[in-house]
Symmetry: C2
Subunit: 424 residues, 2 copies
C-alpha cells in the first residue's frame, strides 16, 4: 500500500523526517507493509529548496499546494507556533486529510478545537512528537495502557531545564553559568524563556492531561513556575535531606478535580526520576491496574524526534484509528487550594529567638514543621535555616511567607520549594 | 462493536484479566468504542468454577469448548508451560481465532512455528504480557519504534533476581538469606530455579530478539548464567569501582551476527538501569534514529500484567494488525567469541610475587589489566585482590582463569563478572 505525505516545515525535525523516511524505508516496509512516498515538501524559506532538491523531493513555499493536493493522504505540520500552523491543520482536516504534528504550543492552545474537528471528520491528528520527543509515550499510554486509570503523572518534560539543573548539581555552577553552558552546547536556545519559565513544560503537561483524562485545561488556570530562582545552596541542602531538585510537571486526578501544575520540586534522590540526566525527558505514571511505569528518552533533537513523527505517519497510514479518552470533566484546582509539603530556606540573623518567631508565624497558619536544620555556612551575618514542613495548604503557606518576609531578622525573600514524596 | 473472548487458565493473571475486564470496561469502551464480552473461561481445576460463578462468567474444564466455539474471536492462553498451551494456541489459530498469551517459555521454545502459523492464517498472536509484565514494551517497540534500528538491548527482565540482588546490596545480606526473604515476601516461588539461573530472562530475551531482529535464537546456543555465585564482597567491591551488579540480558546486533547473552553484569552506578529497585523490570534500548530509551515498570503480578493482556485484546479486537519484523538472519555468536571487560576477584596468599604470577598469566592470553586493588579485608591468610581488565576475548579469559586457578597461592575458584560500560 502506497501512502502519500506532504511535509510542511523544514527545520531540524522536518529535515530529519525527510531523511529518516528515506533511510529507514525498507525497515518500515518490512514491518508495516507500507510504502510511504513524500509527495511534496514546503517551507516559507526558499533556501530550503536545495535540501529538497538534493533528496529528490518536490518543493514549494506555499503550503496550500499541499493542503489542496487531493493525492496527499497525510499532512505533517512541523513549523511550530500558532499561525499559520493552526490554519494549515484545520484546512487539512477539512479537506479529509489526517495530520501529524509536533506542535505542543498549538495543541495546548487550540487542541480542543483541532481534535473535535478531527473526530467530526473521522480523521486523525497524530501528536506523538509533541511530548517527550523520541519517547513513544502517546502510543504507549493511549493504546498500551488502554484499560488503565492514570492516577498521577510526574514528568520531566523539558530537556533544557533538566540539563541546567543537572549541570548546576554536577559541576557546582550557578544558574546563569549553567544556562550559558546549555546555550553553548546547543541544549538551550538564545531565547530560552519558554523553557526556563516552565511554559514549555506546561504545554506538554496539558497534552498529557488530554491524553490521560480527556481534559484540556485553560493555560491561564494552570500554575507554572520556572527554575531561575533555584540556587546552588538549595541543591546542596536538598541533597543533604535526601532529595534532588527537578522541574516537575505534576497532574493528579482527584474526585471531580484535577491538581495540575509545573514547578521546581524536591523529589527523593533514589527515585528513578532523580536519575534523569542531561537533557533527557521522562514520565512516571501511577496507574491502576498496571502500577508504576516510567518512560525515558530523548526529549528533543530533530533526528530522535523523527522517529515519533514517522510512527504517527505509519499508524495513520495503516488505518489504525488511535484511542483517545472522550471529553472528561474536572475542575482545575487552584494552586491556592493544593496541599503539599514544603522546603523552606531562610537567611536569618544569627540571634536568639529568630526560630521562635518564624515557627510562631507558621503555627498561626496551621503549618507544622517536620525538620529544622541551622546550617553552618554564613553569608555575612546571616545564617541559613532549612526547614521541611508537613502537608500544608498553599494559601496558608503564602500568607505565612508574606509575614515571615516582613520580619526584620530575615533577609527576604525566603525560598520555598514544594516537595513530592514519590514512592520508590 | 462486540468482541467475544475465551480465557484459558485462571491463575493469578487469568483471574486478574477477568476482573480488570469487568472493572475497566467503561474506560475501554470510552477509548476504543469496543465492548468486550467474556464468552467462557476454562481451567483444568474444577474449584475455579466458584470464581467464575461469582463474576457471572460461564466455566468449563475442557479448553476444546473454547477453541471449538465459532463465536469466540480471541483465545487468551494463560496457563503457562509448554503443553497443553502449545496445542491450544495452534488449534485456536487453525480455527481462525487470534490468540493472546503471556507464555514466555512457550514462545521462546515454539515461537517460530506459532508466529508462522499466525501469519499464514492472517491472525495475530498478542504477546505483550510475555516480557516485562505491565510495561507496554512490545507495542512501544514494534509500533512506536517502527522505523528504528535497535542496535543494543539491555534488560532487567526478571523481577525475582533483581529483588534478591537489590536486597543483598541494601541490607547487606547474603544470597541465601535474600532468596529466602524474596520467597517469604512472595517475590520468588518455592522452586525459583528458572529465575535464579537466568533461564526465565533468557526466554524473554529471545522474545525481544524476535521483536527487534526477527530472529528466534535456539535456546541452547544462548549463554545464560545465574546469580547464585554473587557474593556480598563482589557487590561491595563493584560499588567501590562505581558499579552495580545486575542480572543483565544483553543483545547486540553486529554485522551478520548477534551477540546475545544473560549473566550478572557490572553496570555504571549512575546509569538508569542501576536504579531499578525491588522486583521492577526495565529495558534500555540503544536505537537509531530515536536514540536511547528506557522502559520501566512491574515485571510480574497478576493485576499489573492484566493491563498488557487487555491491551493486546483491544488491539486485536480493533483490527490493528500489529507490526513484526520479518524473518531476520544472523549467526548467534558463541560466548567464547565475545569481547568484553571483566571484573576479577581472587583470594590470594598475602606473599610477595603473587600479583606478578597472576598478571603474567593474563598477559600470556593478551588480557591487559585496567586497574588493581588489593583490599585490606582478610579471610584467614587470604587477601582479596580486585582487578578490572580492558576488553578481552572470552575464550582467552577462560583459559587464563583455568591457569590462575591452578596456582597454589590462589584460593580457587576466582570470581569473574563481565562489565558493560553503558553510556550515561
Amino acid at each position: 500500500m502506497i501512502k502519500k505525505i506532504g511535509i510542511i516545515g523544514l527545520g531540524h525535525v522536518g529535515t530529519s523526517v525527510v531523511e529518516s523516511l528515506k533511510k529507514y524505508s525498507s525497515l518500515i516496509r518490512e514491518r508495516s507493509s507500507l510504502s510511504l512516498k513524500i509527495k511534496k515538501v514546503c517551507d516559507a524559506n526558499k533556501s530550503r529548496r536545495n535540501f529538497a532538491k538534493k533528496l529528490g523531493v518536490p518543493f514549494t513555499t506555499d503550503y496550500n499546494d499541499l493542503t489542496n493536493d487531493p493525492e496527499i493522504d497525510i499532512i505533517v505540520e512541523l513549523i511550530g507556533g500558532i499561525e499559520p500552523a493552526n490554519s494549515i491543520i484545520l484546512s487539512a482536516l477539512n479537506k479529509g486529510k489526517s495530520v501529524v504534528t509536533a506542535n505542543k504550543a498549538l495543541l495546548a492552545t487550540k487542541g480542543k478545537k483541532i481534535f473535535a474537528l478531527a473526530q467530526k471528520n473521522r480523521k486523525r491528528v497524530g501528536f506523538e512528537a509533541s511530548v517527550c520527543g523520541a519517547i513513544p509515550l502517546i502510543k504507549s499510554t493511549s493504546e498500551g495502557l488502554v484499560c488503565c486509570d492514570v492516577k498521577k503523572i510526574y514528568g520531566i518534560l523539558n530537556g533544557t531545564t533538566n540539563y541546567i539543573l543537572y549541570k548546576m548539581q554536577r559541576e557546582n555552577i550557578d544558574f546563569a553559568s549553567s544556562l550559558n553552558e546549555a546555550q553553548v552546547q546547543g541544549y538551550a536556545e538564545k531565547k530560552a524563556d519558554l523553557d526556563i519559565n516552565g511554559v514549555d513544560s506546561l504545554h506538554k503537561l496539558c497534552i498529557l492531561s488530554y491524553l490521560c483524562y480527556g481534559i484540556w485545561p485553560s493555560l491561564d488556570k494552570v500554575y507554572a513556575e520556572g527554575i531561575s530562582k533555584i540556587s546552588l545552596l538549595d541543591i546542596a541542602y536538598a541533597k543533604d535531606l535526601g532529595y534532588q531538585i527537578k522541574l516537575l510537571s505534576i497532574a493528579k486526578k482527584e474526585k471531580g478535580s484535577l491538581d495540575i501544575r509545573v514547578h521546581p520540586t524536591l523529589i527523593p534522590i533514589d527515585h528513578p526520576l532523580s536519575q534523569v540526566a542531561l537533557a533527557f525527558n521522562a514520565v512516571y505514571f501511577d496507574t491502576k491496574p498496571a502500577g508504576d511505569l516510567l518512560f525515558y528518552g530523548q526529549g528533543a533533537g530533530g533526528v530522535a524526534t523523527s522517529s515519533s513523527v514517522i510512527s504517527d505517519i505509519v499508524s495513520i497510514a495503516s488505518g489504525h484509528k488511535g484511542f483517545i479518552r472522550s471529553q472528561g470533566k474536572a475542575k482545575i484546582k487552584n494552586i491556592a487550594d493544593i496541599k503539599t509539603r514544603y522546603y523552606i530556606r531562610c537567611m536569618v540573623m544569627d540571634s536568639p529567638g529568630v526560630l521562635a518567631k518564624i515557627s510562631k508565624i507558621l503555627a498561626s497558619y496551621k503549618i507544622s514543621i517536620a525538620s529544622v536544620n541551622q546550617k553552618e555556612r554564613r553569608e555575612g551575618k546571616f545564617v541559613p535555616i532549612v526547614m521541611q514542613t508537613h502537608q500544608a495548604k498553599e494559601s496558608n503557606m503564602q500568607k505565612a511567607i508574606n509575614n515571615i518576609n516582613r520580619l526584620k531578622v530575615i533577609k527576604s525573600p525566603l525560598q520555598i520549594i514544594r516537595i513530592e514524596d514519590l514512592p520508590s
